[in-house]
């Protein structure tokens, strides 16, 4: 029971510090479970974090469940996961409440106008992130490209390639989700199957 309480508090602490999404939890976990306590070796931790990123769902939830399970079984994994999400649940509920309450004041209208444009920019930057993980062989190096254009020459890194299969799947996904009423979870499922089949037969 004490272990579970400790796990709950520890992961609640991590959850409250995750600014900008769950990815930032990985270095915090590394510090806590590799450098400070030595619960994992660096290699074990590397396997854990790639497992958390490969399996579906949120990376941070996956790592919390995994570490909690290794420390104290099912109870430990539940304690760590619930601890992780509790601060977000409370803070997000408060933020939504205040947004709703002051929605009609001119200040909030202005803030929303600006932040919505910034959020749209974030959606487009996410498009480039996902393209860099699939269609292109590496993340698109925008700062370097901008620099080379300013110097009057346009160049890409040597190992920057376009993956053919991923490009076809991506183009099909664009077409199907724009032109048909396929649900997106269905498209995701189908493309996972297609990817797996191609991986087996090629």
């Amino acid at each position: 029971m004490m272990i579970n309480l400790a796990l709950f508090l520890q992961f609640a602490h991590f959850g409250a510090l995750c600014f900008g999404g769950g990815y930032v939890i990985i270095p915090m976990l590394y510090h806590a479970f590799v450098e400070k306590t030595g619960f994992f070796t660096p290699a074990e931790f590397g396997n854990l974090s790639s497992l958390a990123q490969m399996t579906p769902g949120a990376v941070s939830v996956n790592s919390a469940t995994y570490i909690g399970y290794l420390q104290n079984g099912v109870g430990g994994s539940l304690a760590a996961t619930i601890g992780l999400v509790t601060p977000t649940l409370i803070l997000a509920t408060l933020a939504i409440y205040f947004l709703k309450k002051y929605k009609d004041t001119l200040w909030i209208q202005g803030i929303l106008k600006g932040t919505r444009l910034a959020a749209l920019a974030m959606v487009f930057s996410a498009v480039f992130i996902f393209l860099g993980m699939s269609v292109f062989s590496m993340p698109i190096p925008f700062p370097e490209i901008a620099e080379s254009v300013l110097n009057g020459s346009f160049s890409l890194p040597d190992d920057f390639r376009i993956n053919v299969i991923e490009t076809i799947v991506c183009a099909l996904a664009v077409f199907l989700s724009y032109k048909t009423r396929f649900s997106i979870t269905m498209l995701l499922f189908l493309s996972g199957v297609v990817g797996g089949l191609l991986g087996v037969f090629m």
């Binding site: 790639s50 939830v61 996956n62 202005g110 929303l112 749209l120 925008f142 901008a146 995701l188």
Partner: protein
Amino acid sequence: MKELPAGRSLFLLFSTFFKIALFVVGGGLAMLPVIEDVFVRKYKLLSSEDMLDMIVITQTVPGLIAVNSAVFVGNKVAGFLGALVALIGVLIPSVVIIMIIAAFFPYLDSQNPLVQAVFGGIRACISGVFIVTACRLFSRVIHNPIDFVLSFLFLTGILCNVSPALIILCAMPIGCLYVFILRKKQATLTPDSEKKEA
């Protein structure tokens, strides 16, 4: 916005977030196209502006994008109970899958070629549906050249590795300035209707 019977909307929240956690690989933002598909386009329970407000909250409130999004959508659709139901839906698949892996295959090799190939396909699909979602949001939010220029400037900042939280912080006063100037202009153009409102 439409209204659904309470039980129906709670079930919809649970099942959608359950499916999202089961099929979406690649972290929190990747779930955006599914949320847009189900809650904005199919059931019309949210607006495009709500989607963007959700992104702002996920980037400013500390915490996981997945949890923030579930709480936001749940709250909008069915209040605090909705938030809890969506949150449980988004957690269960991860927790169950990871527990099974930790219990039975603690040494599962995540570099397994088949696993890599399946998730490679899913990631390619996410890029595709994300492009469509981004374009839909674009057509709903960009009303004039000033909107476009501002959004483009923010995008340039993000691509050059400025932190998203800093971009949102800068966007707030810019948006206020924008709205106040717009209002002043409208006031000088149509003083009569302003008076009627007051």
